[in-house]
């Protein structure tokens, strides 16, 4: 008998715990995120940010730059949603933003297609959408206010040009150069841009031999895996083009594990993109030849745009963010000091 009541008691306890957990869980979170809820405060500019995920350091730096700019202190309230590499999550996030009647939506689209519907909804709800980092394909460009990001194709070209010069220095410009590419997530504008940009230069040199291109998903683990396969499949690779730093790190692991060396004076030339802090450290260690910056600090620029929009000004559709590249010939110490991410 007693036992039975105890059981019933436990059940009740469990359920209330469940409910309570939901309540207080949220209540608690509310407290730690000190900003007031959007619905109450009208004088805040409410921003909905739909981020792709947190797959790489670049991404994290990018997210951070937004979080640091759109603070309550600056008169913003930021709703941040991590889509975990899923378009459906981003669509859902945008819809939620529309429901919560945010003032601006910042969208970093994971793929280029499939956005028409939600953007339409946003337009209907009168919410301007600012695209960042990656681009999208639309019949009607009016659906978004503007796009802010890197000129990936240009980065790709820069990489190609740099390789040209470097090979000239080594006077290998007429030897066969065997190249492999670790590609980023397919269909992402970074991948498309960098691949095509590099291809532009590649096409000018018939002694450059592109052995293979494989998807490294922009992640370190995958990069290492793909590189391992490359090393098994192809003899003496000369150049490794890795479309972001994390993949590069993975690739370097794989290369060293296979007993090969890389970087200046190594068996392979490593070209990398993004230029996060760690990458430059790797360059100091002489494991990467050159990295081509893809500036993740989009926050300030977007903030500036939003202020202009608030002021009722017009903004131009495509806004590139200024970028550079680094290689081992430069004073990396100094660069590292200046580097914020």
């Amino acid at each position: 008998m007693i036992k039975k009541y105890v059981m019933i008691f436990i059940v009740v306890l469990a359920v209330s715990a469940g409910a309570g957990w939901v309540f207080f869980g949220c209540a608690f979170e509310e407290e730690i995120s000190h900003d007031p809820a959007p619905c109450e405060e009208e004088d805040y500019i409410v921003i909905g940010l739909s981020q792709i995920g947190s797959e790489s350091d670049w991404r994290n730096a990018n997210t951070e730059s937004f979080k640091s700019v759109f603070t309550a202190g600056n008169g913003y309230y930021l709703l941040y949603e991590d889509a975990q590499q899923k378009q459906e999550n981003q669509l859902k996030a945008v819809r939620d933003f529309i429901l919560q009647e945010v003032d601006y939506i910042i969208l970093d689209p994971i793929v280029e297609t499939g956005w028409d519907t939600v953007l339409m909804e946003a337009a209907d709800a009168g919410i301007p959408v600012i695209l960042v980092d990656r681009q999208i394909l639309l019949e009607n460009d009016e659906l978004y206010t503007c796009w802010v990001g890197s000129n990936f194709r240009e980065e790709g070209r820069a990489a190609g040009r740099w390789l040209e010069d470097y090979l000239k220095l080594q006077s290998r410009e007429n030897k066969e150069i065997r190249i492999v590419t670790l590609q980023g997530t397919p269909e992402s504008s970074a991948q498309i841009g960098r691949t095509s940009g590099f291809a532009d230069v590649l096409s000018e040199h018939d002694n450059w031999n592109m052995l293979d291109k494989r998807n490294g998903e922009f992640t370190q683990a995958k990069g290492q895996e793909v590189m391992r396969d490359f090393l098994k499949l192809y003899e003496d690779i000369d150049v490794v083009v890795s479309e972001n730093d994390n993949m590069t790190f993975g690739a370097i692991e794989a290369i060293e594990a296979a007993g090969k060396t890389c970087g200046p004076g190594g068996d392979m030339i490593i070209l990398s993109f993004d230029a996060v802090r760690a990458a430059i450290q790797f360059m100091q260690a002489g494991k990467i030849n050159a990295v081509f910056e893809c500036n993740p600090l989009l926050g300030p620029k977007v903030a500036e745009i939003i202020e202009r929009l608030e002021a009722g000004e017009q903004v131009e559709k495509i806004q590139y963010i200024e970028e550079t590249y680094f290689d081992t010939s430069m004073d990396l110490e100094k660069i590292l000091k200046e580097r914020v991410y």
Binding site: S56, N60, E253, G259, G266, R277
Partner: protein
């Protein structure tokens, strides 16, 4: 004639027979397909240390993780009659804890914040706790193992990410990589040595404790083992905790390999391989008697299969499909119904022979 037959039967009956046959099959296949598969080269790596490389080494290397997990999985299977599908997630957690302790707050430390051994012990404890959590759900709340572990299977990687609040710490300290790759001067990958160490420990444990007897007794006949003074629940929990330790070890290797962690990819689908290894070792997935050696061999066979598939340029994401086929074949062949059918068939066949 009779005698030969009986000897032959003895060989066939041995549990190690099935996995060894599978191994042989794969070896032969590769010999035919491309003998280069077995080429092992000795070369210097970037640090200028001589290391062996080649597919066989890869198998020894990656197979070791699997073997270690197979040890724990075998015990869990034997005791609880079910499998733990949360090992992959648990590895992520343990690895994350490890890095957390090593890195402290800063995710890119120039120097380690704690000795590796301490970090390892902490992650060990963490893994054992999660193992115990599974065990309690199974033993005391009487939830089928696979469902109970489903909880961790979902939450695990999230928890892992949460532990390092979603940063990707990187260890620059070179000595940390010894566990996953090579100790300078030793051309054989370290994971293999770790695996061997684990095997030795297990062997000793099986020899100098009643682990085997208790586990099997509980797995085979609970009520009878209870009447013999055993406490089935405790034994089950214990088996899960032991698996936890194995998980921690694997986590060390995994993390050390890449000196960082990727919460969503690390040890992905490894639970499937571990279960497969147990099954391939001829251990009943419904619990009871087990043969550790067979499981371990099974693990290496799985890795052999994986590597072979890799070599034939099978996409890593496509691998599960092939393994799944192997699993299905295994379970179907070992299904009692099918066995009866076979028995009947063979009897008929014998009759025809006699006639």
């Amino acid at each position: 004639m009779k005698k030969e037959n009986s000897i032959f039967m003895k060989i066939v009956r041995n549990q190690c027979f099935i996995p060894l046959m599978a191994l042989l099959l794969l070896v032969v296949f590769n010999l035919i397909a491309d003998p280069g598969f077995f080429k092992i080269t000795l070369a210097d790596n970037s640090a200028g240390n001589p290391i062996l490389s080649g597919f066989l080494i890869t198998i020894l290397d990656s197979g070791s993780e699997l073997a270690i997990l197979a040890i724990g999985m075998t015990l869990v299977t034997a005791a609880s009659g079910g499998q733990d599908i949360s090992v992959g997630a648990a590895v992520a957690i343990a690895g994350s804890v490890l890095l957390r302790v090593l890195c402290g707050t800063n995710s890119r430390p120039e120097t380690l914040q704690a000795p590796i051994i301490a970090a390892f012990l902490v992650s060990c404890v963490a893994a054992m706790l999660f193992g115990a959590f599974n065990g309690v759900l199974v033993a005391y709340f009487k939830i089928q193992p696979m469902i109970a572990t489903l909880i961790l299977y979902t939450a695990g990687r999230s928890i892992a990410a949460w532990i390092n609040n979603n940063e990707l710490p990187v260890i620059s300290e070179p000595s940390f990589k010894y566990f996953g790759e090579f100790i300078p001067g030793i051309p054989i990958p370290t994971p293999f040595f770790i695996a061997v160490a684990c095997m030795i420990v297990t062997a000793l444990a099986l020899k100098f404790t009643n682990l085997r007897l208790y586990t099997q007794a509980v797995g085979i006949n609970q009520s009878s083992s209870r009447l013999n003074g055993l406490n089935p629940a405790v034994i089950k929990v214990m088996s899960f905790v032991i698996l936890g330790v194995c998980v921690a070890v694997v986590a060390l290797i995994k993390v050390s390999r890449i000196a960082t962690i990727n919460y969503s990819v690390i040890a992905k689908d490894i639970e499937m391989d571990a279960i497969l290894a147990v099954a391939l070792g001829g251990n009943a997935l419904s619990g009871g008697r087990f043969n550790m050696a067979a499981s371990i061999i099974g693990a290496y066979v799985i890795q052999f299969l994986t590597t072979t598939l890799y070599k034939f340029k099978v996409q890593s994401d496509a691998l599960p499909a092939y393994k799944a086929v192997v699993v299905i074949v295994l379970v179907v062949v070992s299904a009692p119904v099918v066995r009866e059918w076979f028995a009947g068939f063979s009897k008929k066949f014998m009759k025809r022979e006699a006639a």
